[in-house]
Structures are given as structure tokens and as C-alpha cells.
Symmetry: D4
Subunit: 234 residues, 8 copies
């Protein structure tokens, strides 16, 4: 049986200090529903518990300011809405991050920052939507060079279906809320990706660049032999 992991109680939260040891990814603070002070408290709690890199997602302006105020050397990526305190590990491997359109850029930025924080390399190619399908074909060399692929697309969400037919890399698809009307805040893209006619497409929540980045990082670490607790093979 697994040893019960330690938690750090910071009043408003019960931080899962050993999560990195179990899953390869530390507990990351979701700043979305928290006040700046709460996010700062959580980051401080993680640092106190010895986490080498404490980070938060969905960081808005006031929270970014509060983080910088407490830790002047903190890194804040405004496009990605991610902030961290500490130094990310050196990157290994490479994930190719594709966007269907320029408007998907904020979510792609969250993917990229998550990869960086996770110590994984990232290469971005933007605006390769299927309405000009030759732009997709043109990224074939990038696909071959990557350890995994993340495809970010809103509106019709058709790009992962095409990409997954061109590569044997795992394709992580991120629907975005870009669009209007029948896009229904990303629902159209989500359904498209779930029903992609090409197998090998795996889907995360709408606008969830963080989840896609974590998953892609796990793949890269697996490929690169950098696993947490590799057991004996049967």
C-alpha cells in the first residue's frame, strides 16, 4: 500500500505536497476562484514545503501584481496567465503546438508555459487552419521531429482530424471558446474533436491549455525515460 502523502495546511488550502513525487507534476495553484492574497498564500505554502517551482494558472492582473510584490523575481507570462516562483528545469524533448487561428493564441500560450514549467521543450506554429489545408501539410517535418503534438482550435475544431491522419505522434486536442453562435463557447469544437474520424486524438476540456501541457509533458518524459517511479516490467 502507498504511504499516505503529506499535506501542508495553509488555512484556506490543504496542499498536496507529495504530488510531484506521485504524478510527476506538483500541485499547481488554480488562481481562477481565488483572491490575490489566497493565491500568494498557496504559493508560499508550497515553497515552504520545499517545492522547487511553485506556480499558478489563470492569473489575472491583480494576482500577477501580488505575486510580483511578494517575490520580485517571479516570472509572469501575461499571455498565458501563468506565474511561477523558482527556476524551471532544463527542457528535454519537444512538443509541437499548433493553432488553427491567431485567436487561439492565448490557449496555446498556456500550453507553452506549462511545458516550460514542466521542463519540456516546445515549438509553436500558429494559424494553420484547414481552410488552407496546404498550410497543414507544410508542417509535416515539424510533426516528424516532435515527441508529441498539441493542437489548439476553436470554431469548427477540424484541425486535429487532419493532423492525426498525418502522424504517428499522439495528438492532444484542445478545443477553444473562440467563435460565436453555434460554436456555443467551444462546444462545437469539443464535439468535433471527440468524434474525430482519425484515431489517436485525445481531448481535454475547453480552453484547458494547462491540462494539455501536463499531458504532453508526461508523454515526453515517458519517451525520454524520465519517469517518477518506473516499476519492473512484467
Amino acid at each position: 500500500m502507498i504511504e499516505p502523502p503529506r499535506t501542508a495546511d495553509v488555512g484556506i488550502a490543504r496542499l498536496d505536497v507529495d504530488r510531484a513525487a506521485r504524478t510527476g507534476t506538483p500541485e499547481v495553484v488554480f488562481a481562477g476562484g481565488k483572491s490575490p492574497a489566497e493565491t500568494v498564500a498557496c504559493l508560499a505554502g508550497l515553497l515552504d514545503a520545499g517545492v522547487p517551482l511553485a506556480w499558478a494558472t489563470r492569473v489575472d492582473g491583480p494576482t500577477a501584481a501580488a505575486v510580483r510584490d511578494r517575490w520580485p523575481a517571479a516570472h509572469v507570462d501575461e499571455a498565458a496567465r501563468i506565474a511561477w516562483v523558482g527556476a524551471p528545469p532544463d527542457p528535454v524533448g519537444e512538443v509541437l503546438v499548433l493553432t488553427a487561428g491567431t485567436s487561439d493564441g492565448a490557449v496555446a500560450a498556456e500550453v507553452a508555459a506549462t511545458l516550460t514549467a514542466s521542463g519540456v521543450g516546445c515549438r509553436r506554429v500558429d494559424d494553420v487552419g484547414v481552410a488552407g489545408v496546404h498550410r497543414v501539410l507544410a508542417v509535416a517535418p515539424d510533426l516528424a521531429a516532435a515527441d508529441a503534438v498539441v493542437v489548439v482550435a476553436g470554431m469548427d475544431g477540424a484541425l486535429p482530424s487532419v493532423v492525426a491522419g498525418l502522424t504517428d505522434r499522439l495528438v492532444v486536442a484542445v478545443p477553444t471558446s473562440v467563435g460565436y453562435g453555434a460554436a456555443f463557447e467551444g462546444l462545437a469544437a469539443l464535439l468535433t474533436m471527440l468524434t474525430a474520424c482519425a484515431p489517436g486524438v485525445l481531448v481535454v476540456n475547453i480552453d484547458n491549455g494547462f491540462g494539455a501541457g501536463v499531458a504532453a509533458a508526461r508523454i515526453v518524459r515517458s519517451v525520454r525515460g524520465d519517469r517518477v517511479d518506473r516499476g519492473d516490467q512484467r
Copy 2:
């Protein structure tokens, strides 16, 4: 003001006899919710009113038998579930009908039979789904030769987005109920097509091969100068 059109009362229905004169397409019997006898009665009423070709859609086995019983020379297309009495006009022009997969064939057959009944030529290319996107690129010459394009696709419904980026022909997109789970009986494909990132995609109801065929026929007749009541241009 338009002359009030004539109607033929056959008890269970009030047939819109002059619809072909107004819209280029005669009233077509939707056999879906009708008994075989009701469908036969409607077809007979149209023929009595002088319609040159009386036809019905969503014709199941018993209705097809009843039609053949009454008019031995009737034409029945079982794949398309369409039956007609009389001779269709000679075909003009050409509509290219593409399917994403073999399972979309029944709907494509309805498109094709509708075009034939409407006196318009049809060319079908099946199974050109985007998971093997080179199959789509290979139909470029067919696109250039067509007056209009109908794209039939279920599951992710991504094909029209790619096709519309390759041609200046009007693309009529037909979502189908092919798929399972998050395909939600065609809803996923419908939303994909409505949010297609390439403009020039026009959408009909799920599995509505008849509507797509009628619309494509109108385009061809417009292109070929075969309109009902062409007024003076301003």
C-alpha cells in the same frame, strides 16, 4: 401581386399544385409519417393535377410495394428511399457529391436521386474523409468541373471546411447521423459545419439529402439559365 396558387384537395392533403411554377420544384410527398395508402393517394392527386413527375421521399419497403402495385412502371431507388412516377427531365449541368465515409452512402443516394428527379447531372466520389487528406486533394479536378458541390459527412463533419478552401463553387454541407456517443445523432457534424472556418459553406438539416439536392439543383439551373420566371434585371 401573385395569383393565388391552385391546390388539389385529396382529403388527407391539400396539394400545392403550382409549386413547381413558383419555385422550380414540385410539391414532393414526404412519406415519412404517412401510410402506404396515403402516399399513393398523394402521388395520384399530383398526377391527376397534371404534374409530369410525381415523387416521394423517405419511402420504406411497404410504401415502395404499394407504389409499384399501383404504377408498375414506377421507379424506386431503395438506397435513396425515393420513388417516382413519370420520367425525369434530361439532366443538365453537374453536381459533385462527396462523402466522408462509406456509411454516409444512404444520404448521398438521396442527394443523387433528388438531382436526377430534378433534371440535374450528378457525379459521386465516396469515402474522401480528412483522416487521409490527400484523398480530398485528389478531387480537385472534379471540383473544377462541377457547377456546385454537395458534401455529406457524419461524425466530426470536418470535410466541408477543407473542401470549401479548395474551390469557388458553392458547398452545400449535409451532416449525417453516422457515429455514436458525442456525435449525438448528427449534432456534432451539424455544429462543425455551421462553424466551418472556410466561408461559402451552407448547411441543411441532418440527413436531409433531399433538401441539399433541391438546393444544388437550383444553383445549377441558375448557372445554366434555366429559371422559372426570370424578371428584368435592375
Copy 3:
């Protein structure tokens, strides 16, 4: 096989420079999710690549100001939220644009400006909702004079069903988000139009005046013999 089209890389976007050659419509900038500077950069990139008319949709106030600041001669249609740099081609043909109510005017304006930018003539008749159905019958001469019809309607979205029963022209239906409660931001109108009892109705996304305009322009150009690459007829 088609020649791989050229793209212009402007950093944030990969512009599909040859799209007009392929589809008859150039790449148009969707300003919706972009900053004013990004929209200006995309327009500049298109102009640099030799596009005769560079335009953008969903242009809000700040973006309009940025466009005018860069190109003082730019045309901005505030009602339509469309801006362009360059001169549209002389109009050919005529599309009839109908609205069900005054509140649908903004979407109709987007249709009209798209037609103008595409070099196609436009005639608008507003507020012909079916609650006063004689207003619909009164547009019969306009229907006869048009090359295609665009119907813009919110709330119950019933107008296209009536119009398509009066004409052989193709009817492009645009549901709008006008209404409240069970209108569900345009969903009610969308479903009504998809299930229109009259065939020949083709539907675009909610509030998608741009898509409707592009499609109608393609019809007119087909009718007027002004196609991109008309192949040999079989």
C-alpha cells in the same frame, strides 16, 4: 495535383495569399479575437502580398480607429462592423436581402457590406416579418428580380420558410441572436431554419452575415459566368 499555395507569414498569422485564386474570396481578417494592432498587421500583410482589397469583419471601435489611423482612406461601415482598404470591384448582379425585423439590421448590414466588398449588387428590404404576412407577399417582384436571396431573422426564424415557397431563387437563411428566453441566443431561429418545411433553404451560423454574403456572392458569380477556374464540362 494543386500547386501548394503561397502563405505570407506576419508573425501572428500565416496569411493564405492565394485563397482568392482558389475560392474567389480572399482571406478576410476576423478581428473578433484580435487586438487592433494584430488586425492592422494582418491587413498590412495582405496588402503587401498584393491583395487588391484587404478587409476585416467584427471590427469594433478601437480597431476601426487603428485602421483609419494607418490608412486614412480606409472604408469603415460601422453598422456592419466591416472595414476595408482598397476599392471593391464594380458590382454585378443583385442579391435581395430581407430582414424579419428592425433589430436584425446589424446582421443584414454585414451581409450587404460583404456583397459590396465581393463586387456583387445588393437590395435590402427590411421588416417583412410573417406576423404581417402580406408584407412578405409584397416583395414577390423583388424576388423575381434577384439572383439570390438572403433572409435574416431572429426570434422564431419563420421568414425563410415562407419566402422559399414563393421563389425558385436559392434562399440563404441567417438566424440572428435577436430575442430572449426560449430564443436561446439564436438557437430557436437556427433550428427553425434547418427544419424549414420548404426545400431550398440553406443555413449559416447564427449572426453570420459574412458567410451568407460570401455564399450569395458565389451564386451570383456563377450565374453571371464569373468563375475562378471554370473547367471543361463533362
Copy 4:
């Protein structure tokens, strides 16, 4: 305060014997989820309690047989799926029942049988869909002669919007589950009717011919001065 009404306990049900005295309509047995024996037991309980006309809706074949077996003189309307024991009152007034298409006939039959059982006259005109809008205009004299109007329509459900713009009679709209795809089992028609651009449209549940009939009967009885317990006017 109202006298607590009597109920008749028949084991499986607690019949609301005084409902006709309170509401003008007796408790009617919904045979939908009941066995033939249960429906018969409920009807018998109502008759035992002195109800002059005991009736049931959603009566399928076996239940109809069981009713006839118990009461050979029972009236069964198979199209309407309604059965009753006893004699309906003589009809007063007239409700006009319109259908958009022949496939809506079963629901219209339920409306008509409900009116008959309620002692109200009924006039039916079928197949007046808006795709041939002159058929709607042709019923104007029928509208003027009616005390109330019930409009039954599936698919796009657009008919009530047009009818309500032509009359000052109350329009009760019944969406039906006729159609496929985006008709979503009557949801499209339901939303259309709820958002009808003409005021004065009141809506009942999908396929609820019984509810529409009861409501229309109440209107007629009000107009004809045949109310249950008319209090003093203030």
C-alpha cells in the same frame, strides 16, 4: 375556503371526483403508463362515482380492446387514441383546428376528440403549411367564424406565427414530434412557437392534443357563457 373535494380510492388511484365541478373538465385517465386493466379500473371508478362521461387518452390497441370488452357501447377513436364511456354533451361553439401537414393528423385528431368529449364543436382544415402560404390566407373566413384556433405543426413550427397575425382569436399552438434531425423530436417546433413574432400565441407540450383541446374548450365555454361557477364581477 373551498370545500375539500371528494376522492374515489380505487386502489391504484385516488380519483379526483369533483374536478369537473372545480375546473369544468373531469379527471381524464392518462392510459400511457397504465395496463389495460388499470385503465379499465380507473374508468369504472369514475363511472361509479357518477361521472357522466368517463374517458381516457393515449389508449393503445390492447387497452381499447379491454375497454370495449367491459363496455361494448364504448366509443373508441383510434386515430386520436381516445376512448370514452357515456355520451358527450351536445356541442356548442366552434374551434378551428389547423394542421401544417398531413403527418400532424394524429395530434389534430386528439384535439378534435377532446373537443367533442368536452361538448365543443370542431372544424378541421389540414395541410395548410406556410411553404404554400396562400393556403393559409385561404382559411381567413374559417378564422373569422371560430371561437378559438388550435394550430398543430411539426418541423419548423412556423404556422402559428402566420395565423396569429391574421386573427384576433386566441391561437393555441401544439408542436408535434414530426420531423427528423434538428427537429429534435419536436423541440424545434416548440421553440419556434414560444418565440413567435406575433403575440397571442399560447403553447402546450409537444404532441399534447389533449391539453390544447381542454384549453380551447375552456375558451369556448367562456365565450358562450357556460362557466362552472361564475362569481360576481367586481
Copy 5:
């Protein structure tokens, strides 16, 4: 055949001047999607065409100010968001308007103002929700005195089911968007009312106090013998 009604063209709208003659209710301006100037223009157009009472719904503050600026004697009901110019007819009959809770008051105010503008009497009883069902039983004398009943309820929308079991008056049910979570902006109440276990409940759109008022007014006028064009009875 009906005489084609006149329309008044005011540029942005095509006013249906004869609607009161056809339907008993004049065209009423929906100010929702219009600018203050547009609403004023529509009201002026109706007055110019001789309408005795020109009114608008969904009137916000700026529009109310614009109306008062143009017609200082205009009546503005801020709770109901309704404004009118001219004098309503003397009221006849009485409609009982019930609300389930205090928060439903704005919609009930729209019902009441619509009745007043339509020349029909109104009696309001608020806050009679079914959680204290004796409050509902206490309105029995009011039900008996009314010509029709309008029930306004959000959240669970259960009140019409109870009321319709207590009266033979027609019950017009108005779901409101009051509530949160699974109330889904009024959808829960709407579905409850459509599936009410008591027949005789007729439903309008969410928050549509105007539509409920118009319908109730039609009932009262029918009962009171004040119809537009009563034809001969068959």
C-alpha cells in the same frame, strides 16, 4: 380573400398599420434591439398613421427619456419597462395576475401594463408560492371573479399546476428567469409549465409578460363580446 393591409414605411421599419383591425392588438414596438431614436421613430410613425395608442415594450432608461422628451405627456411604467403615447381605452373585465414570489414582480408588471394598454382590467396578488400552499387556496374567490388568470413564476414554476386544478378559467403561465443554477435562466420553469399535470395551462416564452397580457386580453374581449370581426356562426 383578405384585403392586403397597409404598411407605413418609416425607413428603419415597415409598420403594420392595420394589425389592430386584423388581430385586435396594434403593432407594438419592441424596443429591445433598437436605439432610443429608432423607437421614437417607430412610435411617431404609428401615431402618424392614426393609431390611437402607440406603445413600446422593453423600454430602458435612455429610451424612456427619449420618449418623454418627444412626448412630454407620454406614460412610462418603469417597473414594466413599457411606455405609451395616447390614452388607453376604458378597462373591461378582469384578469387575475398571480406571482409565485416577489422577484417575479417585474414580469407581472409587464403583464399588468399590457392589460391596461389593451383596455382590460387587472387584479394582482403577489407571492403566493406553493411552499405555503394555503396562500394559493386563499385566492380561490379571486379565481372565481376573474375572466382569465395569468400565473407568473420562476424557479420550479410549480404554481400553474396547482392553480389550474382549482379553476375553470384559462390559465396563462409565464415562466421567469428568476433563480440560479439548475433554473437555467427560466428553462426549468418553462419545462414544468409545459408538462403541468393539470390541463388548461397555456405557456408563453420566458419573461414574456407582454405576450401573456395580449393573450389574456383576447380572452376577456371574447368573453365580453368585444371582437374585431365576428363572422356568422355555422
Copy 6:
């Protein structure tokens, strides 16, 4: 820390043998997606592990036959679709189970059988729908005598709102799939119950009589002081 509970591996399942010790309710076999042989194997596994009463829900005819074939003394409640082997404990306390209509009887039977198997008394009163609200008031003495109340209702699902306003007992609400059209297979009743205007209503899944019975049994056991592992009170 809790002792890791034992599981019994029967090949197709991993039975949670100690669940009764933890939660007061043993693992109960959901026969829904299982073959008759699989259900028998699970019941046998539970009996082998020493469970005093092994039972299954959603038992159809073939499974009931297989159970009886293996254990001739097994108890099968066909209305409730529940079967058990062994003897239930003597009942303590009393739960009042109300249904809105006769068609809700199958779900109420599942509640009742679950209570019996759980050793809790049950009193059923059927057909007390709010359309005859005095029937609800008449059960007030039954409410006062009960330890908890379960209310089973389909269609509008309005009954729990009224009941919860009459009692201080906990009200467990079970929406049923009884109804048609906008009842949407129980969704309407579910939403009504979740938004009930009276607090103290707790909701289970549609048609989930088992879950309601388990919850009600827990309440009774708490009231009667019959808890699994009552810790010290703080």
C-alpha cells in the same frame, strides 16, 4: 486510518464485502448491464463472503428466473425489479412514500422494496398529484407519523415543492421518466425538484428508487439510533 476493506474476487467483479460495515448498506448488484449468469455469480459471491442478504436491482424476467433457479426460496418483487436471497431484518421506523400519479408506481415499488431489504418500514400513498391539491393536504397526518418522506413524481415534478412546505421531515425527491415531449425523459421533473421553492428537498437521479430508499433508510436508522459506528460526539 481505516483498515483496507476486504474484496471478494469473482472474476467478473471485485465485490466490496465490507461495505455494509462501512456504510450500513451492503454492496447491491446492479443487474442492469449484466447477464443473468453474471448477476447470479455476483449474488453467490456475496453469500459466500457471508453477507446475510444478497440482493440485486433492475432485475428483468430472465435474470429473475435464473435467480429462482439457483435459489428457489429467493424473493422476487417484479414490480420493483428487485430480487434477494436471505431474510431482511425486521423493520424499524417508517418512511412515507408518495407518488404523484399511478404511472410512477414502478419507481415507488423500488423505493419500498429497498426499504424492506434495508430493514425499514414503509407506508405508501399513491396518486396525490397537485392538480387536486387537497389530496396532498389530506396526507398531513401521514407526514407527521413518518421518520422521512420520499416523493416520486414525473411530468412537472411539482409535488415535492408542496410537500416540503407542509412538514419538517426530510423530503427525498425522485423524478421519474413518466411523461412525453418536454418532459424529456424526466429532465423536466429533475429540474423542478432541484429548483424547488421550499428548502429541505433533496434529489436523486431520474427513476432511482433504489438510491432514494437507501438514503431514507439511513435517515431512519439515524433517528432510531441504529448506526454502524457511532463515534463520540464532540
Copy 7:
């Protein structure tokens, strides 16, 4: 028959003064859709009618200020958005309130304040989400010590399924609107809780901390023998 309860008419509301006598919980003012003055008027009406503790939920800043202005000694819990005038009863028993994450804190605060106002003890343990499942196992002693459990969770809403498998206490599950994308404002968590694989989970509306608190208080009072009107047991 129950004595008709008294109501206090304060103009905008009809207060259900005897509700505490019937249900154990007094009428509580839902300040959500009310102005500060209206909420104050309702609280004053309740106090005038002799209610010992008058309270309101969904109290925003201005309303809180208005309450304090009128009753300087009023208690306002800003996190819970609850205010009351008067003194709550001494607490009996204990409810354990768990949250899955820190962002669920506002809803948990509403549960806690409701319990306090209801005279029931409360113990809160926050941030025990299942992603670190050992945190859940660690609360086993708290479960054993509680009379009932309330679980508050957004996003995947998985916590109640795990908790209900560890205890025989009743588990009241509160979905929250925390999350984004496919969380659909709490719908995902709501569906998860309704389909929880562990029986004994009862669900309230999204973000309905008040309803959960009232229900939990009823359980505690039942267990502690503190019921309103305990009838004779059969």
C-alpha cells in the same frame, strides 16, 4: 386537516409566518431579486410577526448596508452572503462540511451560516479533493463523529462518490459553478453527483448552500429528537 397558516402581508410579499411551526425552518428572505429596501421590509415584517430570528440569503453589499443601517446589531456573514437579525438558538449536534477545493469556499460558507442560524453545529474541512485521495481518507474520524455530511464540489464533482463509500451518514452533495468550459456552470458536477456510483448521495441545486444547510439541519434535529410535531408511531 391542517389549520390554514397565517400570512403577513407587507405589500410586496405575503410572508408565511407559520412556516417554522410547520417545517422547522422559518421563511427565509431570498434577497437575490430584491432591492435593499424590499429585503429590509421583508425582514421587518417577519420580526413584527414575532419570528425570533429573521434572516436573508444572497445578500450583496448594498443590502448588507441597508440591513445594518436599520438594525445595527444585525449579523452579516459576507463570505456566506447571509444576514440575520436576532440570536440563533444554541447549536446541537454536528454537520461535517467538506469542500473539494478552496474555490468552493463561498458555497460552504453559506452551508455553515445556514446551520448556525438553524441552531446546528458545523465542522468544516476544506480542500480534500480526490486528486489527492489520501486527504479524503484522512477525514474518516470526522465522518464518524458527524450526524450528517455535506460535500461541496465543483468541476468534476467526484468527491461525494468517494465520501459516500466511506460512511453510513447521509451525504448531501452541493455542486458548485466553479470551473470552466465543459463544467458548464456546474452542470458537470451536478450530473456527476446525480449518477454517483455510491448510494446515499442526495443532491441540491448548483451553489445552493442554503438548501443543503436546511436539509442537514433537519437530519440533525431528527437524530437529536428535536422535531416540530412528532406524531404517534404506527
Copy 8:
């Protein structure tokens, strides 16, 4: 640029012969919408084109018989509804496949057969639902030994959230349509998995065991260094 891949035209289909070379997975026949003869024709076409293992999914009884009739040595896995002709490659690596309940077995069988056909090892542990969470903790050694994890769950779909918090392996989550009512044919489980509070969960379509198997196989092949066309690393 990629060489245009070859296709094999078998009349009803256009087989993507080079897909294995591009993506590592050959085109697999979806027998769902095809007749037995069509499936056989597609398999034959693939074999003719030199595919070493031709296989089909969603194979029902008649299709299985047709396959065996044509190729007596064909392998048919009835639980998985998968059939193949030829010999799968020797398995490498190991994927752990977990199910939440016995009813999820059919989907898990599809995962397992897909892995076998793809030459990847598989270890299945069934019935580890979170209602007995210690069963989940007991699989920790299996998690450590696996290259990737597939979790199959219906109803509340909560299992992946717990598993992903215990391991650094990639977790592929498959929602199933097991359940009833608010499970909405797998929608509840799908939303739960998309909003899983633990990152690293990737989701496929409801009941899509094939897609999950293909994705897991890609991961294993990446980890084991068995890629199609590994380019140079940057």
C-alpha cells in the same frame, strides 16, 4: 512535402493503404454502418493491398459470420466486437486497463483487443469503482508497472480523477454509456472526465474503446522507441 499516399478503390470505399506508414495504425474498418458484404469487401481490399493484419470494429453477429465464412481462420472477439484476418505482431510493453464496474466490460474488451491487434501488451483489472476507494489504491503496483493507463467508466465517471492523482503515467479516460437518467447515455461521465480535477487525463468519445486503444498503443510505441518515422531531434 509528403508523397501523396496510395488509395485502394473497392467501389464502396477508397482505402487509405499507406495509413500505417504515416500514422502507425492501418485503416481499420468501422463495420457500424456497413452491411456484412461491405465489411468483407473492405477487409479483402486491405489484404489485397498487402496490409498484414486487416481488422474491423463494431462487428455484430451477421458480420462476424460473413468474415468467418470468407476467412475460416479469422479471429473474432465477440465481447469486443472486433474481428481480424492475419496475425497481430508480438506484444511489447503493457497498458493497464481499469474498469469502474462490471458493466463497462464490453468497452474494456474493445480496448484490449485493439491493443492486441496493435502489438501492445494489456493487463485488465475490473470493477475498481471509487465507491470502494481502497480497491483503487490496491492497483498502485499495477500503475507503476504500466506504460500507460486506460480507465473505462460510466455513470459518474469519477475513477480517472482518482487514478490520475496516483500515477505519472498518462491516463486515457473512456466514458461509457452505462447508467440511466441523468447519465444521459454517457454525457455525465464525459463531462466529469473533461473536468477532472487531476491534470493528465485525456478523453475519448463515449464508448470509444478503439480510439483509446490506438492512443495507448502510440504511447507505448513511443516509450519503447518503436516509431514510424522518427526524425532528427532539434
